[in-house]
Subunit: 263 residues, 4 copies
C-alpha cells in the first residue's frame, strides 16, 4: 500500500528538445507534489492504424534521447518493445520494459523480456479477461524474474470503443503484482477516426480518480505541451497545464484508498 507512482510522458519521442522539456516539467511538478515519477516515451509506434502514420525516431535514436532524459533528470525510464531483438539494447537504457497490449500473449516476447532481468510491465490485451493475466505472469516468472507490473488499458466493447472494467484492478492485484491504470489509452476509440484512433481526453480525469479510489499502484498518462498538435495519440493526451490540479485530487484520494477500512 505504498503511495501512487506516476508514469508519464509523451506518446512518442517527437524530437529531443520537446522530450527534454516535458521531462523537465514533469520532474519539477512531481517533486513539488511529492509523487514518484517514471518517464515514458515510445521510440517507435509499431501498430499505428495506418501505414502512413508517424512512428517516431526509431530505436537507436530514441534510446539515445531517453538516456539523456535519465542523465539530466535522474528519472527511471519505461518504454515499449515490439520484437525480441529490441530487448537487449532497450535493457541497456530502460528501467522498465513494457509489453504492448496486442502482444501480451506472445510467449517468446514475454520470456525474452523476463530474461533481461528488468522490471516488466505487461499491458492487458483488449481481448483478455483480468484473470487471464496470471498466464502472462506465469510466462515471465518461468524465467525466474518476478518483478512484474500489470496494466489495465480498457477492454474491447463493441466496435471502435473500449470500456474500463474497474473490477479488473482488484482482480489483477490478486496476482501479487503492482497494478497500473493507463488512463489515457483507456479513453482511446481504436480506429475511431477511420485511418487513425480517436480519443476522449475529457474522461481521463474522471477515470483516473475512479481507479485511484479503488486502490492502484501506478497511474499512466500520456501528456503533451500541445495535444492537438501531437504527432501521436493527441486526442487522448493531457495538456501539461492540467496536470497539477488533477494530481492534487488524485493524491488526496490515494491517501484515503491506501488507508481504507471498507472492502
Amino acid at each position: 500500500n505504498r503511495p501512487l507512482v506516476l508514469i508519464a510522458g509523451p506518446c512518442a519521442i517527437e524530437d529531443e528538445a520537446l522530450t527534454l522539456r516535458i521531462a523537465a516539467f514533469l520532474k519539477e511538478l512531481t517533486t513539488e507534489l511529492g509523487i514518484g515519477l517514471v518517464f515514458k516515451a515510445s521510440y517507435d509506434k509499431a501498430n499505428r492504424t495506418s501505414v502512413t502514420s508517424f512512428r517516431g525516431p526509431g530505436m537507436t535514436e530514441g534510446l539515445r534521447i531517453l538516456a539523456k532524459v535519465k542523465a539530466e533528470f535522474d528519472l527511471p525510464l519505461i518504454s515499449d518493445i515490439h520484437d525480441i531483438s529490441q530487448i537487449a539494447p532497450a535493457a541497456e537504457v530502460l528501467d522498465i520494459i513494457q509489453i504492448p497490449a496486442f502482444l501480451s500473449r506472445q510467449t517468446d516476447l514475454l520470456v525474452a523480456a523476463g530474461e533481461s532481468g528488468k522490471i516488466i510491465n505487461v499491458k492487458k490485451g483488449q481481448f483478455l479477461a483480468p484473470w487471464d493475466m496470471k498466464n502472462a505472469v506465469g510466462k515471465i516468472e518461468s524465467t525466474g524474474n518476478d518483478r512484474i507490473l500489470l496494466t489495465e488499458r480498457g477492454a474491447s466493447f463493441g466496435y471502435n470503443n473500449l470500456v474500463v472494467d474497474m473490477r479488473s484492478l482488484v482482480i489483477m492485484r490478486e496476482t501479487g503484482c503492482p497494478v497500473i491504470f493507463d488512463a489515457t489509452h483507456a479513453v482511446q476509440l481504436p480506429g475511431g477516426a477511420g485511418t487513425a484512433s480517436s480519443g476522449q481526453r475529457q474522461y481521463v480525469g474522471a477515470l483516473s480518480r475512479a481507479a485511484v479510489a479503488i486502490g492502484i499502484d501506478g497511474l499512466f498518462w500520456e501528456v503533451h505541451e500541445n495535444p492537438d498538435k501531437a504527432l501521436c495519440d493527441g486526442p487522448n493526451s493531457l495538456p501539461l497545464q492540467d496536470l497539477k490540479g488533477m494530481l492534487q485530487d488524485i493524491l488526496a484520494i490515494d491517501a484515503i484508498a491506501k488507508g481504507h477500512n471498507g472492502n
Copy 2:
C-alpha cells in the same frame, strides 16, 4: 455539487419486522455520519429469473410497511413500479418512483410516472448507451415534470455479466439530472446461477469508491442483516456491519470530488 445521498435498504420487503430493523439501523448510522438517506425496498420483484423465485408481499401490504417506515423514522422512500396501474397507489406513499432498467424505454410507463408529479428515478437499461437516456428524460419532461434522477447499474457485456462504464456517470450528468450509482445491481451476474442471478458483493466497495471519486449525487446499495439468507439478491447485498467503514471512506472521497479542481 451537494453532498452524496445514500439510497439503501433490502432488495425486497421480506417481512415488516426485518424491514423496520434495517431502517432503524440505517437511520442511526447515517445520522451519525451526517449523510442523507432515502430508504428503498421493493414490494414485488416482477422480473426474477425463475417463475418460482420469491417476489415479495405484493403492493398493498408492501406499501403499508413502507408507510410505517416513513412514519416511524421520518425517511423519504423510493420503490419501483412495473405497471401503470401501480403508479397512483405508489405515489400515495413514495417520495421517489423508480422505473426498472428493463422498462426504461416503455413510453407509457415513463409518461404516467411523470404525471404523478413525484420525483422519478430511471435506471438505465443494460442495453442502452448513456447518451440514450436523454430520450427517457424527454419522455418524462413531456409531462411537465423535471424532477428526474438517472441511475447507472451496468451495461450488458457478453453473456451473464455486466460492466460499469464509468464514463456514463459523466455523460448522464450532462442532462442536468442528478446521477445515482447503483453499486449492488452493477455487480450482478444476470442469470449467472442458471435459474437465478448471481452477484459479486466483493466489488461493491471498490466500484462505489470509484463512482464517488468521479462525482455522483447518490449511491444505491442493497443491504441485509444476513445477505446469505436474503430471499432476493443476497449475493450482491451488503451486510449491515460493513456499511460504516465503507461509508467513511466514501464520504472522504466525496468531499474531494465535489471540490475538485482537475477535469
Copy 3:
C-alpha cells in the same frame, strides 16, 4: 424439421388500406412460392426511442384492422402486447401473442400471456444469453401452455449496435421450442440516430440466409411498400419488390439445412 414459415408484415399498422395491400402482396407471393405465412403488424409501438415518435392506431382500431386481414386473406396473425390488460382483447383476434424483447423477463406478463392458451412468441432480450431463455419458457409452461416460440433478434454489442450470435439459434432449439430469426430487428442500430433507431437493411438478406442455413423454424421480416417513408423501422424494413428473389434463395437453403447430414 418442417419447412420454414415466414412471419412478415409492416412494423406498424399505418392505415387500413396499406395494411391490406401488404397482406395481399404477401399472401400471393407466399402462395406462389409454397411457403407458410403468418401476418405481423403492431397496433402500438410502446417503446419508441422518443416520446414524439409515431406509435400506431392503438389497440382497438389496430385489432379491428388485423381481424379484417384475417377475414380477407385467411392468414394467421401475430402481434405484440405490452401490458397484461391487452392480452384478453388481443387473444380474441391473434393466433400468436408476442412478448417484446425488453419485456422478456416480466414474469406476470409471460404468465398472463401463457394463460390465454394462445401460441406465445418470446423475443430474446438484447441483454440475455440464449440459455437464459429456458427461464422464459418455464414461466409460460407454469400455466400449462407449452406452445412457445423463441425469437433471436440480436444481443447488445457495445453501444447503439446489436450482434447476432448465430450459436443462439442452435442453443434455443435445445429447449424443444421452434426458433424464429427476426432478421429485420437484428440489423437495428438502437438509438443510433439520436432520437430514433437506425438500421442496416442491406444486411437482412445475408443474415437471413445464414440463419436458415443453420436450421430455423421461422423467419421474421418487417416489410413495406416504401421503407424510406415508413412511419416506423423504415431503415431496417425490406421493400416488397425484393422479397421474391430473397425467398427463393432462402427456400433452397432451407431444403438443404432441413435434410442436412453434417452436424
Copy 4:
C-alpha cells in the same frame, strides 16, 4: 464468385506421420468432392495461453514437413508467421503467409510479409471492427502486393468468449479481397479453461453453413484424427470422419449463395 476453397489441416504439426496422414485424407476427400484445398498447419504456436503449452516442432523442422506435404500431395500451403525473421524461410515453402489475429495491426510485420510477394492472409484481430481491416490491406498494398485474403475468426464478446458478427463477411468483401471464415477458431473460448483455451466444436457446422450462405471465398477448419487427444486446439477441431457430410451440405449452400439473386 468462384467456388469455395477449403483451408484445412491440424492446428499444429504434431509429427510428420500424422501430418502426412491428415494431408492424404484431405486430398482424397476434396478431390472426390471437387473442392479446392489449401493445407494448413502451424510449426510454432507462439501465443498459447500458458508457458507450458505444446508449441510444435519449430520453424525449420516444421517447414521441412510442410515441404514434404507439398511434394507428396501437390497441395498449396498456408502457415502463420510471428516475427519478421520468419518470413524469408517461410516464403521458400509456403504459398500463403498468414498473419495471426493478435498481430494484425503490427505494421512492420504486415509490410515485411507483403514484400515477400506471397499471398498474405490477415486474420482480423478480435479487437477490430470489420471496416478497420482496410488499414491492414493498406499496409500490405503499400508494398505493391495486392494478393491479400482477410479472415474472420470472431470478435471479443465479454470475457473468455467470441462472437461471429456475420455482417463482417459482407463488409470485408467490400475491400475487394477474398474473405475466409475461420470456423474452428471462431468457436474458441479464449482462456476459457484457465490455463488453456476451450472450444465448442459442436457449433462449427452451423457457423460454417451460415457463413457460406452469406457468400465467402474460403472456409478454414482445423481437423484432427482424434481431436480429444490433439496437442493444440482439440476442443474446437473437427474429427476427420465428420468432414464429408459437412462439406456436402456446404457445397450445396455455396452453389446457391454464389448464384444468388436476393441482396
